[in-house]
Every structure is written in C-alpha cells, then in structure tokens.
Symmetry: C2
Subunit: 309 residues, 2 copies
Amino acid sequence: MIDRLIERIAETQNPTVAGLDPKLDYVPDFIKAEMFEKYGETLKAAAKALLAFNKGLIDALCDVVPAVKPQCAYYEMYGYHGVKTLYKTIAYAKKKGMLVITDGKRNDIGTTMEAYAMAHLGALSLGGEAVEPFGGDALTVNGYLGSDGITPLLKICKERDKGIFVLVKTSNLSSGELQDRLVDGKPVYQLMGEMCEAWGSELAGKYGYSSVGAVVGATYPKQLEELRVKLPHTFFLVPGYGAQGGGAADAAGAFDSRGLGAIVNSSRGIICAYRKEGCPETDYAGAARREALRMKEDLLSQIGTIRLD
Amino acid sequence: MIDRLIERIAETQNPTVAGLDPKLDYVPDFIKAEMFEKYGETLKAAAKALLAFNKGLIDALCDVVPAVKPQCAYYEMYGYHGVKTLYKTIAYAKKKGMLVITDGKRNDIGTTMEAYAMAHLGALSLGGEAVEPFGGDALTVNGYLGSDGITPLLKICKERDKGIFVLVKTSNLSSGELQDRLVDGKPVYQLMGEMCEAWGSELAGKYGYSSVGAVVGATYPKQLEELRVKLPHTFFLVPGYGAQGGGAADAAGAFDSRGLGAIVNSSRGIICAYRKEGCPETDYAGAARREALRMKEDLLSQIGTIRLD
C-alpha cells in the first residue's frame, strides 16, 4: 500500500489527502432538495445526498489529489443508509484511481480485530467469490490495546497489499492528557511511535517506509519534527491542517529531504471551500479543486519538488 | 442509563451482558441454508442470517439477561448489509426490554466524536421527527485522545439518558504494553480510570455509580479489585469471562458489597453454547439460555443476592 501511495503522491506532486467528512449541513441545498424530493426527508435521502456530494468532489479531485479519507463517523451518523454511502464512496474513489484511507480508528482485542481487518481491508469468500465488505486501501487504528490488537491487521496488509495508520500524537487540544505523559522519561506518543516502527518491520516498502503509518497532528509541529527523526520508516498521516489551525510550515517537519514521509489531510477546508470562496454552490466541486491546488502549492513551497530517489 | 441498567440487573438478579458477536461461522446451518436459498450466497444473505440468529437469541434471553452488547466489528464484516443487521438487532433487543451497549470502541477528535455520539446515542431531526441512526443505550469508547474526545458524548448522555464505557484495562494478553506502563508511579490504566471518575462527575446516578463506566477485563483480577476501590463511582463492563479464560472468582472483585458495580460479558460462551453442549442446532437459543442461567448462578455464588440499598 505504502509504495502505491508514495508513487501516486509523486505523480500528482501532491502530498495531500482530501478528508470526506460530509455532514448534511455541508451539502449544497440543490443536492439536498433533489434527494428530499425523491426520498422524503429521511436518512436514506440524507445518505443519497452525501453520496452525490462525494461523487462530485471525487470527480473534481481525482487527477490532482492522490487519496481520500472518508471519516466513518460522518457516515454512521446517517445510520446504515449512511454506511452504504461509505461503501459506495470508497468504490467510486477507487474506480477514479484514488487511494482510500478509511478513517475508523478501530481498536479491539485480537479476534475482534480480525473481523475489523476483514471488514475494512479484507475480502470474504462467499459463493465462490472474494467479496470486499468495504474495500479501503488503509485503515486508521488505535493501539491502546497493544500488539495483539494490531497484529491481525498486519497479516491482511501483507496478503492484500493494504496498510494501517496508528494514532500516535493526535491533533486535538487535549491529546497531551495521556499522549504527552512520560513513561521511563519518554512520552506515551513516542512509545506508540516505536511500536509502529516494530510492527512495520514486516511490511517494508521500497522507498524506505512501511505500510504501518502513524497519525501525527500538524497542530504539534515540534513533536512532528521530532518523530520524523525518531521514526524513520513510519509514514505520517497528518491531520490538523486548515480548519484545525495548522499551516504548511507546521506540517513541513513531517517530510524527509525528498519531500516524502507524510500526507497531509484537509477535510472541511476542501469540501466546504465553496462557502469560504463565496462561489455559487453549484460550483462546490470546482471550489474544492481550487482549494486542493492552493493547498498543494502551499505545501510544495515548504518541501520543494517531491522525488522518489 | 446507569440507573436503568442497575435496576434491570437487580430485577433479573443477573449481572451479565450477552455479547452478540455473530460470525457467520457461528450461525446454525439451518438458518444459513434458508437465507442462502432466498438471497444467494451474498453479503445480504449473510446479514439476514445473522439477524435471524440474533432474534432467536434475544427471544431466549430477554427475560433472564438484562442487556446485550453487539460488537460492531462482526456486523461491519458483512458490509452495509451487516450494519443494517446491527441496527435491526438493537431495535429488536430494545423492543424486548433489554438494554443495548453498542461495542464500537469509537474515538476521535471533538467534532468527529459529536458525529459518533449522534450516530450511536443521539437522534437527528429529519422531516420534523427525531430519528435515531442506531439507537443504543450506551457506547464503548477509547480515551487515547483525552477529554475533548469524550466530552461531546457526555452532553448527549445527559440530554438523552445514555452512557459510555471507556477502555481502562482491557482483557487481552498484550494490554499491558501500554496500559501497565507507569506515569508518575501510576499505571496508564489507573490514569484512564481517574479520568472516568472525573468525566462521570456530571452524570451521577442514584445508586452511587455514574453513566461513565469503564471496561476492565476479568483476565486481570488483581487490577479489577484494585480499580473497584480506586474508582468508587465507575461502573465496570467486564469482558474476558468464559472463552477468554476468566472465571466467576476472577470477576468477583469488580463488585461492591451490594453485588453492584459491574456487568460481566460473555459472547461466544453464550451464543455458541449449542456447540459446547452438543444439543441439536435447532435448539441453539435454548442452549444460550441454559448457559446464561448457569453463568448467572456462577456469578451469584461469588457475590450473593444483588441489592439496591
């Protein structure tokens, strides 16, 4: 997975991932009106509106942004209809050549993680066929339960060329309440980062990074820089750019000298760009594309041209 | 929520929750055959088989077991069809008078936790009606992100009489890799437990416990006993009984002198009881009931009669 992601980042010269966190509030009225007219003001209509919104975004972004990151919470909020939209969004993004990082932050004991691994990265054998329940390329996970909550994922990652991103230092204000506490003189986030390096040793890719990545927020630029040095084989998924307050300079420390090592997420910044820009809402996808290109230039101004060698 | 749960435990004199973790492998052949014939060998058929299996279990358990705990992973494994079965299972269990603890171990930053809170404990306003996306009574969560990943849940818990259970000391073998590490001389699990006490102060119930509970495994009886003393207002959800190796004596430390303070989960032990018992598979629900009653006697032999005063 990590090699596919890195190659796509180099092709597009864009180390960003578009977070698809489509609350109904963010969806333009003309889409909502159409779906409410067809299906009534129901969860089904809401879910159909989210899907139409997402498809427009994916069409506008797929040649300039390497990956999307649908956040499960925003689909679960619309019940099983919303979860069907998650499935269809993943399928559509893949059809358009994008990589998909399913943002579920799943975690549990080993037997249960086998089920999550199967759900989000695996395929069931049914009726003589391999059926992917969701079909993402990577899944975000939480390592609070330790190794036996992570190893079932590694098996499927290896067999099916998939990846995971483990929460290390999250972007939110209170992340330090646990993550910054010191264990034998080291913060908890560093301990978690070291586990990522260990878990990733089985999943090394050809550009120096493994398919076990880490989530490290742009809102903590010092820690980001420090972890880049301490975790040389761990690719970073960096939230916190844009709406959460992080800028390109804050994210810069996540990258190595080739401009590799990280992918920066923006969700509301991209999908709600039409509001900030003030363009007609029918041009919401165009605004998303313009914002994604602006963000790309913003990041490249800090890290230079992205090179594979 | 916690008062409703405690009262139902006292009524049934049973501090157990049945974990509904229905892998297709666990479902009796006669149910699978019926659904495969109707819908082909598809995810839809698998999801319908899980629902039929669950309904049989709920019918057999609803007057002797106070609550069920569907594990989200086993539903997501069957795609959005499986997630529809999760929704229908929750609705059916509630109709039959059971409390529902949705086991999702969800976690994220604040704005995203608002979406998860809405999904699993809240209701959306759509077409002038309040629509519950999933409708559980409580949700398991992971506190790795600290307070601002938990507080959005407390608001909905207060408004709608719901609850959460935060991972503190999990039942799996490697839980100690992070959770047992010392921070200022205290293990991480204790730190997390103290946060539960703090978060719960706003959600106190009338029996001394709050609607912010903790997950503490029966596989670590010493820590369970220690935490019962240190976290006097935190109700425990105790996994690890049965298939994971914990016995009633291991779980006993989770209870106070009234026999309150905890609810012990058994998943495979109950739902796969027909295999262990060797009865005809058409009697799978009867076997589940017999195992639930055996487990009840096993627990009561340790803690005595459950009293509310």
